[in-house]
Symmetry: C2
Subunit: 343 residues, 2 copies
DNA sequence: TCAGTTTTGACGTACGTACATCATTTTTTT
DNA sequence: AAAAAAATGATGTACGTACGTCAAAACTGA
């Protein structure tokens, strides 16, 4: 048989269309007994609401906002493009996405931005930011207004976000460590860990995961303390120079954050780059080229297109109050080498 | 402004609704000059047809069929489940999927099955099969009937399939080789390549890619001729035993096809399994466990859920005659280790 | 049992599009 | 210029659902 409609449910339950409608949309004025009959009929027939028709009748429009950090990193730019592309592929589904940028290191600015969003009453917000008390409070207020909230890339675990779209940073660090341990050929040596900011929660978690695997499984490697170069090319150069000088048994570099360009530029001068195992995060135009040039050995990445589409799907599901198809939203930790580089 | 509708297009073009309708749906009886005015209005307004409303009005139903090999491999089973799950997640979009199984080694049986499908006039068919002249012809007939055809997992390049959903097998083999080369610690040694069937096109391509990378980049490794065990546990055992005996410098095993269980069972007896680098294809319940147990070092995989959803999206796009959002349908070659194993 | 309240039914309109029918206008042909 | 043909307009119904209004029916309490 064709898909059952509300009409079928009504006659199956022996009630009128209006009553089925009341039950389906949670309107008042239906006796519990009657509601149960309707639910039983729904179960028997396997009725599923036709969301396209429902959205049409409702004139439903999904207005989402994505809040991204205003930095100049290639990764953020890639993310922005992916969101816009995902949204434009969805205009058929009456969905619009506005991407706004906020200063990443100013929790108050982020909170203000989130607060300001409430005026325009979007249906959902995807937030890519570090967790701070200010952000947490701002999210709580969004939730009070009934706005769906998804944490993008970095989880905001102690906030009231509805869903986290991204990967577990510790696992990502563990994966990096496994590759580092297996890629280095000399059994003994030191590994340099670099990040642009030591404070970022993701950096801390990645480092935790990385250390744990190296310690347990590659005891012949020793990991140097993390150093941060704060997006400063000069500082990057000094750090690298010092590390290369002080440790002639350096075998690998694990770059946990953005800014690989500066690091690799600094390394290139030394001439030891070809022998070093260099593992980075996120696939950007630069890391892509560096993979091909064999300067980077592996990139731990997340599929940005998938992240963007997932975030929008999650926000939609949440603002409709329907269940999320979890399997589809589980983001994988991608290992990218020069041989499986996506086109 | 809100999204423009056909009404807006009509008044913008200064014609009636009926004329816009004739233009949009390619009905006859519209002067070219008038049609141009309508198209101009569409462009000016940025009108996009609301497919949900259109499908509703049309009572459009998508009936798709997936043709899978009737083998007992865990991978095929995983694929089947993924297709059914993807379809059930799509019933909202009035899409149904029927999965049928055919004997994989009988080209005539596959052709007959495809031929038989034409009676029920599905909107699209996803085919997971080896390319043979019979299959090619059967696909040509499907296309004559206006049925969308997607090749699933193995491409059917010289057929008239609309789209290939899967990864390039040579690249997959190259990726396996890169990992093999970098994972083995002794610099010299032999690598055993095993498959269940030497005839499968994918096996041949994987082998090509594998050899090419080993030859160019890991010359200290030598790859033994491929051996096939034809899904026969006894044969698998003999092959493994012979390889282990004849080559005490065996450092790795590359398993190109299904049936890792038999191979690993055979290897386990020998006791050298822990030192061997074992690389397999496809994430199944068995390879997953073997990864955790450190019997398999890496799995080259494709995201089966993604494959299934992609196949359905592609068939839908093709049967609607709309463009495919290529970036979304590009399947990645996943490298799975025990650290980035998806839950 | 009656009034009051709650529950249910009947019905109409709308969403954006598809599609069919018939009337009217415009163009082409003779 | 008239007749024929082609193009266009006007209008109505449908898809499955949402939502509103009003009347009828079923309950409730005293």
């Amino acid at each position: 048989m064709a898909r059952p409609t509300v009409h079928d449910v009504a006659s199956e339950a022996g009630v009128s269309l209006a009553t089925v409608d009341r039950v389906l949309n949670g309107r008042s004025g239906v006796r519990e007994k009657t509601a149960n009959r309707v639910h039983a009929a729904i179960d028997r027939l396997g009725y599923v609401r036709d969301t396209s028709a429902a959205n049409l009748a409702r004139k439903r429009e999904y207005n989402f906002v994505a809040v991204l950090p205003k930095d100049s990193s290639q990764f953020t730019e890639t993310m922005r493009k992916a969101l816009i592309e995902a949204a434009s592929a969805q205009i058929t589904e009456r969905m619009t996405v506005k991407v706004i940028s906020v200063m990443p290191d100013d929790p108050h600015a982020i909170a203000r931005a989130l607060h300001g969003l409430r005026r325009s009453k979007p249906d959902g917000v995807a937030i890519m930011a570090q967790e701070t008390p200010q952000v947490r409070d701002a999210i709580a207020r969004l939730k009070i207004d009934g706005i769906a909230v998804a944490a993008l890339l970095s989880d905001l675990p102690s906030s009231e976000r509805d869903f986290f779209v991204g990967v577990n940073s510790q696992s990502a660090g563990r994966t990096a460590a496994l590759l580092m341990g297996r890629f280095v050929t000399n059994t003994k040596g030191k590994v340099l860990v670099v990040t642009s900011s030591l404070m970022a929660r993701d950096s801390i978690d990645r480092r935790l995961g990385f250390d744990s695997v190296i310690l347990d499984e590659f005891p012949s490697l020793s990991v140097l303390p993390s150093v941060e170069f704060r997006n400063d090319p000069e500082r990057a150069r000094r750090i690298i120079a010092r590390a290369l000088e002080g440790h002639d048994d350096l075998v690998g570099v694990y770059s946990m954050g953005p800014g690989n360009q500066h690091l690799i530029d600094a390394l290139r001068d030394d001439g030891r780059l070809p022998e070093l195992v260099y593992i980075a995060h996120e696939l950007t135009p630069y890391t892509r080229v560096a993979l091909v040039n064999r300067e980077i050995d592996a990139v731990i990445a997340q599929n940005v297109g998938h992240l963007a589409r997932s975030a929008l799907r999650v926000l939609r599901a949440k603002s409709d109050g329907v269940a999320i198809f979890e399997a589809q939203e589980r983001i994988r930790i991608d290992i990218i080498t020069r041989e499986n580089l996506p086109e």
